[in-house]
């Protein structure tokens, strides 16, 4: 256990050093798909955080009962359940948002980020560590989604969270709202993060 990271380390690592999007390149499908507005990105990040937290907690609680060759089945079962709950909650209380996000909420089931945390951390660590790991990773994921969405929304529509931040004369870059804008933004931000950490290493 000595060389295992402590709960606090797990939490901090999730935010930047092991950021799911910028460092592990996981969960890229929703990162590209739902980040053309801040509101959608934050809702998506919240849904992922809910699923990740619940799945990590349950997995950690039953970790001693897991059979190695059946563990993926159990992970998927757990994740699918919480995703369905999140999906129904959105449809009931945030109906328009659930229509905007469309199939991307059900698709959280196949988000590698969550199954990766279950496998790497929750299935081997006590509950407290699993929870702090899930919180850190969710925050990191939320930050990544928000950074991509912020750039895209401001450049694409001149708005931020639905409020105008750039002057009305700003020529809205429609391409930033469309899928190519997602690739360009993510690519540039990834490059920036890599350049920054590479500079630090020297």
């Amino acid at each position: 256990m000595a060389d295992q990271p402590t709960p606090l380390e797990r939490f901090i690592r999730g935010i930047l050093p092991e950021n799911p999007v910028y460092r592990q390149l996981l969960g890229l499908c929703p990162t590209l798909a739902v980040t053309n507005s801040m509101k959608a990105a934050i809702t998506m990040a919240a849904a992922v955080a809910f699923v990740l937290l619940c799945a990590n907690t349950v997995t950690s609680l039953i970790r001693n009962l897991l059979k190695p060759h059946l563990r993926i089945v159990v992970f998927t079962l757990t994740i699918a359940t919480f995703v369905t709950i999140a999906d129904r909650m959105l449809a009931a209380y945030m109906y328009q948002m659930s229509k905007t996000l469309g199939p991307y909420i059900p698709l959280i089931i196949v988000n590698c980020l969550i199954i990766c945390r279950c496998e790497v951390c929750a299935s081997k660590q006590p509950v407290f560590t699993a929870i702090s790991d899930a919180t850190g990773q969710s925050l990191g994921y939320g930050l990544a989604l928000a950074s991509v969405a912020g750039v895209r929304e401001i450049l694409g529509t001149g708005m931020f969270f639905g409020f105008r931040v750039l002057p009305a004369t700003w020529p809205d870059w429609a391409v930033m709202v469309l899928p190519p804008g997602a690739f360009i933004t993510l690519g540039l931000l990834l490059g920036a993060v890599n350049w920054y950490s590479g500079r630090g290493a020297k």
Binding site: V74, T78, R88, Y95, G102, P103
Partner: protein, 225 residues
């Protein structure tokens, strides 16, 4: 004697390797999760249905009169009086229930019908609203209520550009999907790269008109008398 000594160990081995026993955790988790999901659905299902119903009622003026006239109507502070109805169609001994909304102007004049129907799409069920004029002669509008078609391809069926094609189509002919450039009055342009989604929507519409034309005409007539 040796045989009887060996037996318990072998029994134990067999016992441990039994598939069902190995999967006890999966099975019990599936049961627990299943029950919790049923509870969530029981609690949230009615709220979701009501959300859909509210959206349906909001869409009725636009579906029957078109966007401009609907906005004018809203600006004049007028609204349709909407009565939900259930129409039973019996075909080959099977009963099918259609939920239809009867919309009347404030004076009581029939404004048209909006039917809510669903059918299988490419990925999942497609749920749509179709507006029909009072005499069931033309389709007045189409709105996709719920779909999970492929993002970027099939989900283009929700866009006004595509679903706008349906407004003004006659209910007399079966609608037909064509690729690239609809010419005839009953032709609908397919969504590029999503012929199955386009076909599904058109099939749902054709079937609904087929089933509902007569009952709705009868309903309209009896109301008049």
């Amino acid at each position: 004697m040796a045989e009887t000594e060996k037996d318990p160990a072998e029994m134990k081995n067999r016992f441990q390797n039994n598939y069902i026993l190995q999967a006890w955790l999966c099975i019990s988790l599936a049961l627990i999760f299943g029950i919790s999901l049923a509870a969530v659905q029981a609690a949230l299902g009615p709220v979701i249905i009501e959300n859909k119903l509210n959206e349906t009622k909001e869409k009725v003026p636009e579906l029957l009169l078109g966007t401009e006239a609907a906005e004018k109507m809203a600006a004049a502070n007028q609204a349709f009086k909407i009565t939900p109805r259930s129409i039973v169609v019996e075909k080959n001994g099977i009963q099918k229930f259609y939920s239809v909304f009867e919309a009347r102007f404030e004076g009581g004049r029939l404004g048209g019908w909006v039917t809510k129907v669903d059918g299988q799409g490419y990925a999942d069920k497609i749920e749509l609203l179709m507006g029909l004029d009072p005499s069931i002669e033309t389709i007045t509008g189409l709105f996709i209520l719920d779909q999970k078609e492929t993002p970027g391809l099939g989900n283009k069926i929700i866009e006004v550009v595509w679903r706008g094609q349906f407004a003004g189509k006659s209910t007399g002919d079966q609608l037909k999907v064509v690729k690239g450039g609809a010419k005839a009055a009953n032709e609908i342009d397919a969504v590029t790269g999503a012929t199955i989604s386009s076909d599904s929507v058109v099939a749902i519409i054709n079937k609904t008109i087929n089933d509902l034309r007569q009952p709705l005409m009868d309903a309209g007539r009896t109301q008049k008398e």
